[in-house]
């Protein structure tokens, strides 16, 4: 049933991808055509055929919008054709970003779960903490990130940890909100039943609240892991000349290397996809163990 559904999804998805690629090519040609004409004029070249100009437009060095095959070529060159230790390798930069993302995500998830436990078990915590937690997410992360990096750097902490903390800041929120809801979602009947057994709060937590909250955890983690990646990349922006996908994006924009930017964006997108897929995989394994109806 599920696998049949998944198979039937592939067709529509490929159709959308194909449409996007066509649009992308039209956009690339449209946006870069004028620049190409200007450069012919400056060089005094005349009588360029349409097909010649089209081919030139799609192989510019710094196009406004690079064509998909240019991004792919750049991506290929900086992943497969580079040693992973090279500063040019997107695998190297991707790993730097990924390690900060994972550390931040792990801390954020644990922190979020911990906060949710407190909030659910203590009415005062609920009233006093929840507004602050929500307020924390209204602060623009782009404004805070440089301060975190600078302040921590001043006290001698640099590299992985400051970036991970920005990831934590973004990823704990969906977890805490999801888990508060999850921990509160056991049915009244199930809680009554535990009361008739004279079960302790700890037993109620591990035998009822935790298993009930698991589906909420995985949903929150999918949002949280994507936010974590954004946090790590944002954390790399102010680092300047450092490593990581964020640093690549920044360097690319300094030197107008649009193809490099797009290749780094592609790496970030692939990372995000892989992270979400991993959480999804963990969810399916857990569901199978818990006998969730397929």
């Amino acid at each position: 049933m599920i696998s049949a559904q998944r198979q039937s999804n592939i067709g529509p998805i490929l159709a959308v991808v194909a449409a996007l690629i066509v649009l992308w090519y039209l956009g690339a040609v449209g946006m870069n055509w004028g620049i190409q004409s200007d450069s012919y004029q400056r060089a005094g070249t005349t009588g360029v055929s349409f097909s010649q100009q089209l081919s030139d437009v799609l192989s510019q060095e710094k196009p406004i919008l690079p064509a998909p095959h240019q991004v792919l070529a750049e991506f290929w060159k900086n992943t497969v054709q580079q040693a992973v230790t090279s500063k040019k390798s997107l695998v190297y930069h991707g790993w730097i970003t990924l390690s900060a993302t994972l550390l931040g995500f792990a801390i954020g998830t644990l922190f979020g779960i911990g906060l949710a436990v407190f909030i659910v078990h203590n009415a005062a915590m609920d009233r006093s903490l929840m507004p602050w937690i929500i307020a924390s997410q209204t602060v623009p992360i782009l404004a805070i990130a440089p301060m975190v990096i600078v302040v921590l750097n001043a006290v001698g902490i640099s590299g992985l940890v400051p970036k991970a903390l920005i990831s934590t800041y973004l990823s704990f929120f969906p977890v805490v909100v999801g888990m508060v809801t999850g921990f509160r979602s056991p049915e009244a009947l199930q809680l009554d039943l535990m009361r008739t057994y004279n079960a302790s709060r700890v037993q109620v937590f591990f035998k009822v609240r935790w298993p009930t909250a698991l589906p909420f955890l995985f949903t929150s983690m999918k949002v949280g892991v994507a936010a974590s990646l954004v946090g790590a990349i944002v954390g790399e922006l102010p680092a300047g000349g450092g490593s990581g996908i964020g640093a690549r994006l920044l360097a690319g924009s300094y030197y107008g290397q649009t193809i490099q930017i797009w290749a780094a964006l592609m790496a970030a997108a692939l990372l995000a996809g892989a992270l979400i897929a991993s959480v999804g995989f963990a969810e399916r394994v857990t569901n199978r163990l818990l006998g969730v109806r397929a």
Binding site: E187, L189, D192, T196, Y197, N198, Q203, K207, P211, G291
Partner: protein
């Protein structure tokens, strides 16, 4: 209370009252309820919705607090009795945990009460056999029919050593055929385990068929209008429901319910 009283009376209520404070004003869920449940009794509570039958069961279980009168369970307060795990409760819905297999669901109270692994296995096997669910140990609740799920929840309530079984319309959501079958099964189970059972229902035939004692209740305020000691024999095949004796008791229950509805005739 003396020791002699304790060994015969399981539940004793005197002038029990419970008033809920709701947004629409006070609701008198129970008013001046006095009755005894003796060891080995099968007591049914019958009445229309709002008559306080479920509330009374929940007071016995210490899930609601009375606002007037006195009640003891095994000679103790309901809270003390609950802490001693003196009763098993079966709700209207099976309330099985979907992430646990049937055997793990039955194991839940045993885990909480700290029974050993060997003891758990033994009791799971014994109680699942008692409710005819042998062979379904590894199934998840959704793989079972509604009637089987409710039997599993009964097994769960029987798994630990409580002599009192509180059942709140356990078969209310099941169809007539399944219900007849489970009623007969429940009687057999009661005879084998010698438990004391308090059973809430809104079905007259069910109450008469099962009980040694029928408590008829009426609403607004929730109160007892009649207490009928059944004269039916202990051995009850399903067709006992066609006998004059059965019909006479059912008639009296119906009269009691009718009396509860007209305010001039309260007993």
């Amino acid at each position: 209370m003396t020791d002699g009283g304790k060994s015969h009376t399981v539940v004793e209520a005197q002038g029990l009252g419970l008033t809920f404070n709701t947004a629409d004003g006070d609701v008198e869920a129970l008013s001046n309820v006095s009755l005894d449940i003796r060891r080995g009794d099968f007591v049914s509570f019958i009445g229309p919705s709002g008559c306080g039958k479920t509330t009374f069961l929940r007071v016995i279980a210490d899930l609601e607090q009375p606002t007037a009168g006195r009640i003891t369970v095994n000679g103790l307060s309901p809270a003390e009795a609950r802490m001693q795990r003196s009763y098993g409760y079966v709700f209207q819905a099976p309330a099985l945990f979907p992430w646990r297999t049937i055997e793990k669901n039955v194991a839940l109270p045993l885990e909480i009460m700290g029974y050993s692994d060997a003891e758990r296995r033994d009791r799971i096997a014994r109680t699942l056999d008692l409710v005819n669910l042998k062979g379904f140990e590894k199934k998840f609740p959704w793989q079972l029919s509604g009637g089987m799920q409710q039997r599993a929840s009964i097994a769960r309530a029987l798994a630990f050593d409580a002599d009192l079984l509180l059942m709140d319309e356990p078969f209310g959501a099941l169809d007539e055929i399944v219900r007849d079958y489970l009623n007969a099964e429940l009687l057999k189970l009661w005879a084998r385990t010698k438990k004391t059972i308090a059973f809430v229902t809104h079905s007259i035939p069910e109450a008469v068929y099962l009980s040694t004692k029928i408590v008829v209740m009426s609403p607004r305020p929730g109160r007892v209008t009649d207490i009928i000691e059944s004269t039916l024999p202990a051995e009850r095949p399903l067709d006992i429901r066609e006998t004059p004796e059965f019909l006479a008791i059912a008639h009296r229950v119906r009269e009691g319910l009718r009396a509860g509805h007209s305010y001039e005739h309260t007993e």
